[in-house]
């Protein structure tokens, strides 16, 4: 249970949040036309006769868009409706050529599912929580109006007109901005795992309508407002925070919250009225007579299911249970597609190079991937070329470290040179003298010298001052110019000091 509460003048308030996320389906062509969907193209360069709603043009469903939405539904373990239907949502606007949006009101493609957000104490999420998902339906995006091209006229760009969107509607299950943020991040991660949406919020591939209401803990839901088109996780959280506070202020001042549509202003982090319920459109939804009901065959569903990758929750579980990673590392590594992809490639390469099974090297690779390597890359900044950080090079470094040939510090130094130059790690270790000495003869000689030079400390140590062990290690390492294998030094010192 979230313990997030707004402290009002008259007591505590709980926030109730539901999100409608619009995710652009990754596909080469639009939902009902063959036009392309690339972002950032010249205005009106990706518009077919259908998208421009020329007389007599007809929509034909794009199989790939439907497939992606079905796969997304499967990824949230949702009910897939083998029979669904498209409806028209009628309204007039210059960015809507048909005068209606083809959507799915009455019979969506995907029914109820759920999504797990993980405990994150720091973020204020004390325990794992399952967020219900009401439905996913597919619909067309509208075009875009441009008001800054002409002093008295607005221009219309129809490139986005007809692009496929999934509208993913959550249940009102979230109780804090943090939960909402975690939900959007997790949803984005799943979409990217599945490959059904690139999750790029800056380019508008993903945006959220945020439904917020407040209530006294334990009381029925209050009246909600809907804040439209919020396009980042941070803004979603800000919008909720602001909107909840605003509603509490209204209620505590004796007013009532008006059910309305609001806009979020990223500049101020506030929301303002867009239109009230009274001006709400009557969309006159009805089944689109140009389209037959969408019936999904068993083969199609089977292919959709078979094509799903290992999903974040399953992967995280495997990382902990099979690879033996800490829950923290598992979560960090599985959050993003790129992160786990790099990790899994490096893990396989490293295990192969060393000749061990993956679970035996997983922790080493995880630590390297999450903290060591990123630290070096960051410190180096523009001096390093990330392209040099191949899996083979990193695996070679990790293998040398595993064999005790190089120390952790040397590994970092070698990696730094790899990043800068692309040279071979083994060659670097050799040429730059970045190898540690594991030769017992040399280390024993150094130990003998240190013991001989510090008879009093030896006596104290043997008398019970265990803490002096560190002093001896330090002296030996100093004598070896830092290049001795610490493991070997420790072992030999213990033997000699008795």
């Amino acid at each position: 249970m979230s313990n997030y509460r707004i402290q009002g003048a008259t007591g505590e308030w709980e926030v109730v949040i539901g999100l409608e996320v619009h995710a652009q389906v990754t596909s080469n062509s639009k939902l009902f036309s063959g036009a392309a969907t690339a972002f950032g193209a010249e205005p009106n360069s990706q518009v077919s006769l259908v998208d421009a709603a020329m007389p007599g043009m007809l929509p034909v469903p794009n199989r790939e868009c439907i497939r992606q939405a079905v796969r997304t539904g499967m990824a949230i373990e949702a009910q897939i409706n083998a029979w669904s239907r498209f409806d028209r949502k009628n309204y007039f606007y210059a960015d809507l050529p048909q005068g209606y949006q083809i959507s799915q009101l009455y019979h969506p493609l995907v029914g109820e599912g759920s999504l797990l957000i993980e405990a994150d104490e720091k973020a204020g999420i004390p325990e794992d929580k399952v967020i219900g998902i009401e439905r996913i339906h597919v619909e067309q995006d509208a075009g875009k109006l441009m008001h800054d091209q002409h002093p008295t006229m607005s221009y219309v760009d129809l490139n986005r007109s007809g692009v496929a969107l999934m509208e993913i509607v959550s249940k009102p299950d979230m109780r804090s901005p943090a939960e909402a943020g975690a939900y959007v991040r997790k949803l984005r991660s799943i979409l990217r795992y599945v490959g059904s949406c690139d999750g790029n919020m800056e380019e508008g591939s993903m945006r959220a309508d945020v439904n917020v209401s407040v209530r006294r803990p334990g009381e029925p839901f209050g009246t909600r407002t809907e804040t439209k088109n919020v396009n980042s996780v941070r803004f979603v959280m800000q919008a909720i925070e602001h909107e909840a506070m605003r509603q509490v202020d209204v209620l505590e001042a004796g007013g009532t919250v008006v059910q309305e549509t609001r806009l979020f202003d990223p500049g101020t982090g506030t929301t303002r009225t867009m239109r009230s319920k009274e001006d709400a459109h009557d969309y006159r939804y009805f089944p689109d007579p140009d389209l037959l009901p969408l019936v999904l065959e068993e083969d199609f569903l089977a292919e959709c299911r078979a094509s799903l990758p290992e999903l974040p929750d399953a992967k995280r579980k495997r990382y902990v249970e099979v690879l033996g990673l800490t829950p923290y590392n598992a979560r960090e590594l599985t959050a993003e597609v790129e992160t786990f992809a790099r990790f899994e490639t490096l893990l396989a390469e490293t295990a192969n190079t060393i000749g061990k099974v993956e679970p035996e090297v997983a922790t080493q690779v995880a630590n390297w991937s999450l903290s060591v390597a990123p630290g070096v890359v960051k410190a180096l900044g523009d001096e390093g070329d990330p392209a040099n950080a191949t899996a083979a090079a990193q695996a070679a470094i990790l293998a040398m470290q595993d064999k005790g040939e190089i120390s952790g510090g040397q590994a970092k130094e070698i990696f730094e040179i790899v990043l800068k130059t692309g040279r071979d790690p083994a060659e670097i270790a050799e040429a730059e003298g970045l190898k540690q000495v594991s030769d017992t003869g040399a280390i024993e000689a150094a130990i003998d010298a240190v013991i001989a030079a510090n008879p009093d400390k030896v006596e104290d140590y043997r008398g019970g001052k265990d803490k002096l062990f560190g002093f001896f290690v330090g002296q030996v390492m100093k004598a070896m110019a830092g290049k001795a294998n610490p493991g070997v030094v420790n072992q030999l010192l213990k033997d000699k000091l008795g």
């Binding site: 007599g56 607005s154 219309v156 009805f286 037959l292």
Partner: protein
């Protein structure tokens, strides 16, 4: 040489193939006939060059010994609801005046591919909404027929009234029509010609200005059943660009035509015997039964109990779809735009649509908007869809007892233009026999039976099972052979 304009599709095609005359001669003859018939106002634009170019192509192909298409050398009229590349396409509306598509409708393209040429774009009721051809922005079409002893301008029916008038007047051997609730069959009946609306989905709707998407179907209008069979064969076929298109092979209807109806059962729906139907129509229906019996068919009584609800349901479903389909005519991207000084988007919409749509179109947009509104949707639209399902079920059950249904096409013969404008409902009643088959998506045809006491043609309607255009055409042929319909309007234009 015979007057080429007296020939139909089959005779022209065979004559061109056989070398009796050239396609160019045919095109020239019809171009001239079209030019002389301006008084009918059947065409919105004429395209003599299109007809000639197509004809020359056919003549060249024949000279080269190539195989000719099934419509080779036949110049036709194209209802101005079909988008034609580079040729103004208006749906008889002001809002699309001057609109020249950069694309060709699937059906018209198939006809050109089959060797047909275009005489021009035919007038119609605006956006195919009307039953008399009085709602066109480009003026009424006048039927070539006159009532005996009267000089009153008569209605050619609607909405395919330009098509029916042109074919009846022999200024085109055939024309395309579209039928949403009788718009092929009723004008065919009014003008003494044949017209078939195939099963919903047979002809692609791609490139046809939409009226009511779930009902609209293209079909041929011509002077014989054979001509309809030939031309339908050229128009039909699966089109991946129309999601409601039937993914089925197109049979060779012409080759399979057979008027021997032995072993067939013809259903007579008792509910079609309704008040307000002319006695002459009822008599022709009786005559039709006798003809089909003579052709070997067994006549059986069938029941279509929901018939009386079909017309009201149609006038909910069709306007509902139309109100949405016509939303795209908004002045933003093409067609006319009325932008009064200093106004915003909403005012531009209002001004454009107020000026661009005629009264009947506005009436149906209003009806459609009303029946889809919050609070009324279930009472009207949902209810109408249920009625539609029941009407379709009526037919299914009837077709357990018969192979084809015989009924009148219309309750009356043609009427003078302007005589039915008092009450739109009277006009709507004209389609009372046509609408049920539209709601059920069934193939249905009108063939001329006789003329009434005023000398005006009367049609009989045949309705078949889904996909059984052949059964409809065969029964139509049996009637045609026995009716011996040879009446022709006197040329007054």
């Amino acid at each position: 040489m015979t007057d080429l304009t007296s020939l139909g599709v089959k005779d022209i095609r065979d004559g061109v193939r056989g070398g009796s005359f050239t396609a160019r001669e045919v095109a020239e003859a019809f171009n001239t006939a079209v030019a002389e018939a301006a008084a009918l106002n059947a065409f919105i634009v004429t395209t003599p060059d299109h007809a000639l170019a197509a004809a020359d192509k056919v003549d060249a192909a024949r000279a080269a010994g190539e195989e000719l298409g099934r419509m080779a050398g036949v110049p036709i009229g194209m209802k101005d609801l079909f988008a034609t590349h580079g040729v103004q396409t208006t749906a008889a509306s002001h809002i699309l005046e001057g609109f020249e598509p950069r694309y060709e409708s699937t059906v018209s393209q198939k006809l050109w591919d089959a060797g047909a040429g275009m005489l021009g774009k035919l007038n119609l009721d605006q956006f195919a909404m009307g039953s008399s051809n009085e709602t066109s922005y480009f003026g009424n079409v006048t039927s070539p027929w006159k009532k005996a002893g009267s000089n009153a301008a008569m209605s050619p029916g609607g909405s395919s009234g330009g098509s029916s008038a042109a074919v009846a007047a022999r200024i085109a051997p055939a024309a395309t029509g579209t039928d949403t609730g009788g718009s092929i069959r009723q004008p065919a009946a009014f003008t003494g010609i044949c017209g078939i609306k195939p099963t919903y989905g047979r002809c692609s709707r791609w490139g046809i200005v939409a009226f009511a998407s779930s009902l609209d179907q293209a079909g041929p209008m011509a002077r014989s059943v054979e001509d309809c069979a030939i031309m339908l064969g050229a128009m039909a076929g699966f089109d991946p660009k129309d999601a409601t298109s039937l993914q089925m092979d197109v049979p060779d209807w012409e080759a399979a035509l057979n008027s021997d109806l032995r072993g067939k059962k013809v259903g007579i729906p008792r509910e079609y015997r309704m008040a307000g139907t002319d006695q002459a129509i009822l008599d022709s229906w009786e005559q039709g039964k006798a003809w089909l019996k003579d052709a070997g068919a067994e006549i059986v009584d069938v029941s279509l109990p929901h018939t009386k609800y079909a017309l009201p349901a149609y006038y909910i479903v069709a306007p509902a779809e139309a109100s949405s389909n016509l939303a795209r005519y908004d002045g933003v991207r093409y067609g006319m735009r009325d932008l009064p000084d200093g106004v915003g988007l909403q005012d531009m919409y209002a001004a454009t649509r107020a000026a661009g749509f005629g009264d009947e179109v506005k009436r149906r947009i209003l009806i459609g908007t009303y029946v889809l509104s919050a609070g009324f949707y279930d009472a009207y639209y949902t209810q109408a869809q249920k009625v539609r399902a029941l009407v379709a079920r009526d037919f299914e059950r009837a077709f357990e007892q018969c192979d084809v249904i015989l009924a009148p096409t219309t309750p009356t013969a043609s009427f003078p233009l302007g005589s039915m404008n008092e009450d739109p409902l009277t006009m709507y009643l004209n389609d009372v026999f046509a609408v049920p088959a539209s709601l059920a998506g069934l193939p249905a045809m009108s063939v001329p039976a006789t003329v009434n006491a005023d000398g005006l043609p009367l049609g009989l309607q045949l309705v078949g099972r889904p996909f059984d255009e052949q059964g409809v055409l065969d029964a139509g042929l049996a009637i045609q052979e026995r009716a011996g319909f040879t009446a022709m309007p006197d040329k007054w234009w």
